[in-house]
Symmetry: C3
Subunit: 357 residues, 3 copies
Amino acid sequence: MKFSEVVQRLGVPVDRTSLSLESAHDPEMVGVAAVDEATSGQLSYIDGAKFAAQIKTTQAIALILPRSQDLQAAATERSIAWIETAEPRLMFAQAIALFYQAFQPDPEIHPTAVIHPTAKIGTEVAIGAHVVIQANVTVGNQVCIHPNVVIYPDARIGDRVVLHANCTIHERTRLGTDCVIQPGAVIGAEGFGFVPTAQGWYKMQQSGCVVLEDGVEVGCNSTIDRPAVGETRIAQQTKLDNLVHIGHGAQIGFGCAFAAQVGLAGGVEVGNRVILAGQVGVANDAKIGDGAIASSKTGVHGTVNPGQVVSGYPCVDHKIYLKSSAIYSRLPDMYQTLKQLQKRVEELENQGLERAE
Amino acid sequence: MKFSEVVQRLGVPVDRTSLSLESAHDPEMVGVAAVDEATSGQLSYIDGAKFAAQIKTTQAIALILPRSQDLQAAATERSIAWIETAEPRLMFAQAIALFYQAFQPDPEIHPTAVIHPTAKIGTEVAIGAHVVIQANVTVGNQVCIHPNVVIYPDARIGDRVVLHANCTIHERTRLGTDCVIQPGAVIGAEGFGFVPTAQGWYKMQQSGCVVLEDGVEVGCNSTIDRPAVGETRIAQQTKLDNLVHIGHGAQIGFGCAFAAQVGLAGGVEVGNRVILAGQVGVANDAKIGDGAIASSKTGVHGTVNPGQVVSGYPCVDHKIYLKSSAIYSRLPDMYQTLKQLQKRVEELENQGLERAE
Amino acid sequence: MKFSEVVQRLGVPVDRTSLSLESAHDPEMVGVAAVDEATSGQLSYIDGAKFAAQIKTTQAIALILPRSQDLQAAATERSIAWIETAEPRLMFAQAIALFYQAFQPDPEIHPTAVIHPTAKIGTEVAIGAHVVIQANVTVGNQVCIHPNVVIYPDARIGDRVVLHANCTIHERTRLGTDCVIQPGAVIGAEGFGFVPTAQGWYKMQQSGCVVLEDGVEVGCNSTIDRPAVGETRIAQQTKLDNLVHIGHGAQIGFGCAFAAQVGLAGGVEVGNRVILAGQVGVANDAKIGDGAIASSKTGVHGTVNPGQVVSGYPCVDHKIYLKSSAIYSRLPDMYQTLKQLQKRVEELENQGLERAE
């Protein structure tokens, strides 16, 4: 693909590219790569000062650059074609999609799939080998179900959903349109509901269900449990990374992103556009407000206010955490200083006493 | 189902219900729900003061209540039928089971299941599509094996066990009766046994096995490893949530509950009725006594005494943890105060010196 | 197997065993066991002082011992045959392999496996029931693929690789020779790449791939993601335990060992022979030098130097961590002491003031 075609497909005005220069050339692009790994013919990007030095060494033949005359001049000097944009990383993501599409099986049903006669299957659906679809399941149009997926009875799968290999969708689960479930994820299994009694644990039947709204994505081997009654619900466009656990009855807003190994206890309430970094844990009394952020490994209890950034275990405001954790390694010194001060004050007190006598 | 039938099935004496009142009515119940989500015709429960206010707004037509004349009067006033019990949550769990049963496939063997001729299969067993059962496996009576489960050779599966979709049971694993293994769980895989040598890691064959006693439940995508020699053993009625890891050779008592993402290193010893909250980690030298509790994210090293409650990383007694963690966010202030005190004491000492001269 | 045969197969000179003694006997060995669990006829080992007392009570008929005349004399006294070695645990691992081999299916292709006609399958390959191998996959010689494994298109599987049940290998993944992938692991799925925009998350296609070099092992239900561009690479002989997450684009050296539930964010760089204990988290800016160690639950940010041992969250040098965490539980006392000191100093200052007046 010619550079000029990339520019056109990305919808960038020519005067924001090196094509507007007198020295303009229009190289052939063969793919995309990171700026420090690009080889001849590849398109890359530079996003901010951190990578700016690499403009002098990169082998990329074209670059997506931020709005910086210096960077553009440096690229031009090395005969690197460039595109200017306010959001280089976003445009690079769009550029990747010009050169690459993930594996998409043909829309056909493999003869080894076992589909219950009461299941309703939409049009243009791909169902892979050894898939099992139980009674009364509804599958929308243009859905892609990869091999060895199991769908329990009464589940509803929205249009254009992708279910990757070996994942499990439990009874009554409802997936909106355009959801992606990565391999091994388990949606809608029984919540961890055991009531303590004198005779031991009494198992509470989990009669509720899991609802994932449109555009939710769930990472590999993540687990989202259904509750005893009601719903576990994740609102639209929320994205979960791998090995995430969502407890029974949790209510999660739209546009959130939870990184790998995050765990939410049952009944947690999370607002919209909340970001939880890796290995964050949220206890079962917690309410997290819209737009809040928890940094990695944070242990969230109680209430996090909208827009608040929290860190630490137990979590505190991120600014306090930074200060307190910086002092943590000085604790032994503080302890010694404190002991010495005690002695010195005692001595001063004794001197005062002597003087008073 | 009439309210009176619910009362009867739950075994509650009529004089502990609103049926004993003059104003008694006997509404039709159509299901169960949380008190703040119940719609007309649903049964719900109130467990303690936290939810008491909702008695004024709930749409539930009947409630399971604690022993409180105030709550009962409030329910009666709103024409809500009620049942009194010392343990509302437990009775609600029993009530759910009146209205709901989890999906239970018919006891038949799907023709696509691949079962080794040497395997012994009990009576009334359900074996789903694409299940694989290897040589010399023994499966008890009334066992339910959901689709795409794989059982390696020589495993023994007790009566009434449920193996959910896509889970894997390794060679020589022994499951007692009434165990439930949720989807994607892996029981009895090789422990992480590598001996460091000058030439790199030497792989220790894991010749032992995993034993789960009667009534053990294992959550989605949890993993329980077998040891090099001997057994990894989990005693009866212990319940594990999702994404839990149990290392090779761990010994776990009966009636424990481990929440999601708990991890136990190899060789750990855990007593009976121990509760580990979410994301707790237990190091490989640890011994945890009967009835101990570790709060979420606790890092357990060394010995935890029977009945002790521990928190923090590294763990300390929970009361100490509460005090210390409360002070954590004041560390910057403490540090400043300490520095100032040092100066002030120095000044006092200098004044004393001057006076002494 | 006779003890003398075990000695010979392990390659130990007879004069380093009890066979060199006058009182020598040559018992029959029936298996291996831990020293405190061994029954008659079993071989065990003692590794260091911690277990030395058990030499007086063990029922083992032979022991692998460290170079200690005392231990050897104690064994001889109880008529226990013994082998002397500098590394008892390593030799015990070698001894296990004399008595035990993990389940190895016959090299045949099960008729229910679905193999794309363009896939290239090597010689002496075992492919279990319900395996799915997509287009253009290459499988080396003597590979063992257990039931219900799914391999996406264009993956390359090296010689002697073992893929355990229910694991998923994504498109373009490259596995070197002798890799072992435990059940449920997912290799090469889409990295968690979403670019924030005013309209919500924009999904970045993940066009890269995962490369595992020779001898890499991946634990049950672990997940290794592919990046947007380039590779996620794990160098040879690195071993991952269960439920480990490796983010997109991470670069990991050779000979590392990561314990269960470790999580690495995208783009992390890890050197050679690095050891990460259980539940360690590594943030996306981190670089960990060769031979570094992080103790369990450590939260790694920034740079860890070669050979450094770090602990804590956020991580600090292990020695500092030990001191600081020891003081953590004294924080309430320190706080009280500090408050009292403040008062006492104030009083002293007031006295000085009075005296000065």
